[in-house]
Symmetry: C2
Subunit: 251 residues, 2 copies
DNA sequence: TCCAAAACAAAACCTAGGTTAAGGTCTGGC
DNA sequence: GCCAGACCTTAACCTAGGTTTTGTTTTGGA
């Protein structure tokens, strides 16, 4: 008897976006892949490279980032298990950003040629991938706003809220909290702040009774309050995408 | 005799990304649309709406933005004639941001259902659309970096460089310059600064002999210098995407 | 189980960019 | 061809967040 495919999470995730027919499902599960165990802080893709694989996170966390000329790092997104990073890099041919692990991780590397092949043949799967990257894109837009127009406390609170909802959707929360996979320096790189100031902000959030955070273990004591402080509204996560088909509504 | 279709720019743009076969071409040109003339500062899409149309800009400029709780606006992207804004909003069902004109504009509204239909039937066209949104996405990522980790002068210079290259690709430049479609307040909203500070920065760029700018007419006196100040590298624009097919090269 | 390196914390001080305000100059609608 | 409102410019002042530094706590690898 064959155990559950390592690609099962992908099917699960994509099924939320669009109806996958049995053929699509099968095609996805039939994708070849190479399993890889990676240490923390390891590069999965480097800017400028031509990545040959797409990378599904099976366990652990990853992030994408760019570095400015004078060495400042900006984190652009954070990725949870079950997510397929780097569809974009692969499809555009040359990577315009870095992908790196945040923690030790297991990943499945799918050759990009195979993926493209599958996409050509299975429109259902292609549609799901498409929606997946569109949601990514929506999150980038929200990050532009977060980093461009919100003050420090709001930015950090917003990020913590986003992660809460995404962790929840991925089944990675403990009661009212989760294991925060970011150091304060990384939080700073994600919010466009300095580590010192992130530390101040976290102190503030603790003092307001909104969160407790020690040893990376985050507990959100007052989610509504934190969302309020973080000017957070979950629309942009598109967690309940309506299948965007043009079906007439029938009884 | 039928004059050139209004959708021709779309074919032209998408041809750059991927090889369009004659059927794809025809299918795109056969898309139904409604022409619309819009004044400046008019909303094309509002956050929260379910847009029924995708919007191709025929002339004029548009931008996407979000507004924070306390009324600050962050511009997320700027769009030139020939660009198809809002593929994302339409495909995700509910708009997560606003789209608005920057200047008076002519647009062609294509019903999203028709677009989806076409996408289902013509993989070549679907691929082009897909790449189009991937490039959008890449630009968002660069904007996160710009706004998150660069200082004011660098941000503004970077934006001016981006627009230069994109205007050039769209054939909208005059000798070493272009008609800047943004007010200083809008530049501020795009860079996460205040109008006053944008004014200071522009003064600085002028004093360095990098640009001249009056009455919206921008001339870039030293593009290399401006790119240098702006920490600008054009990779992220993916202006020369290699067709990402996995086809073996044949004679 | 120990040790070095990473991460967290916090205080003192500083600066890039924000705020406010006031005047000048376009511009497009009547 | 006039006028109100939008836009640009500049100056004086202020503050959110950056920088530097020093110390403490965790962590994970040998």
């Amino acid at each position: 008897m064959i155990s559950e495919s390592v690609l099962e999470p992908l099917v699960r995730r994509w099924s939320k976006f669009t109806e996958l027919r049995e053929v699509d499902r099968k095609a996805i599960l039939a994708l070849p892949y190479r399993l890889k165990e990676v240490g923390r802080d390891q590069h999965l893709v480097r800017e400028g490279q031509e990545p040959q694989n797409c990378c599904l996170i099976l366990s652990g966390f990853a992030f994408r980032h760019k570095v400015t000329r004078d060495g400042a790092r900006q984190i652009i997104s954070i990725h949870l298990p079950g997510e397929f990073i780097d569809l974009q890099n692969s499809l555009l041919g040359v990577a315009d950003h870095n992908v790196q692990t945040l923690t030790r991780a297991e990943v499945a590397l799918v050759p990009r040629t195979e993926l493209q092949d599958m996409m050509e043949k299975h429109r259902g799967a292609a549609r799901a991938m498409w929606i997946d990257t569109l949601i990514d894109s929506s999150i980038f837009r929200e990050w532009v706003v977060n980093v461009g127009r919100r003050d420090a406390q709001t930015r950090v609170a917003h990020l913590l809220c986003e992660l809460m909802l995404r962790m929840e959707a991925a089944g990675l929360t403990r009661e009212h909290g989760y294991e925060l996979p970011l150091t304060q320096a990384q939080l700073a790189d994600a919010t466009g702040l300095t580590p010192v100031h992130v530390n101040r902000v976290l102190k503030g959030l603790r003092e307001k009774g909104l969160i407790s955070l020690e040893a990376r273990s985050l507990r959100i004591l007052d989610l509504e309050g934190l969302q309020d402080v973080g000017d957070f509204s979950e629309l942009y996560l598109h967690h309940q995408v309506q299948p965007p088909q043009s079906r007439p509504v029938t009884a």
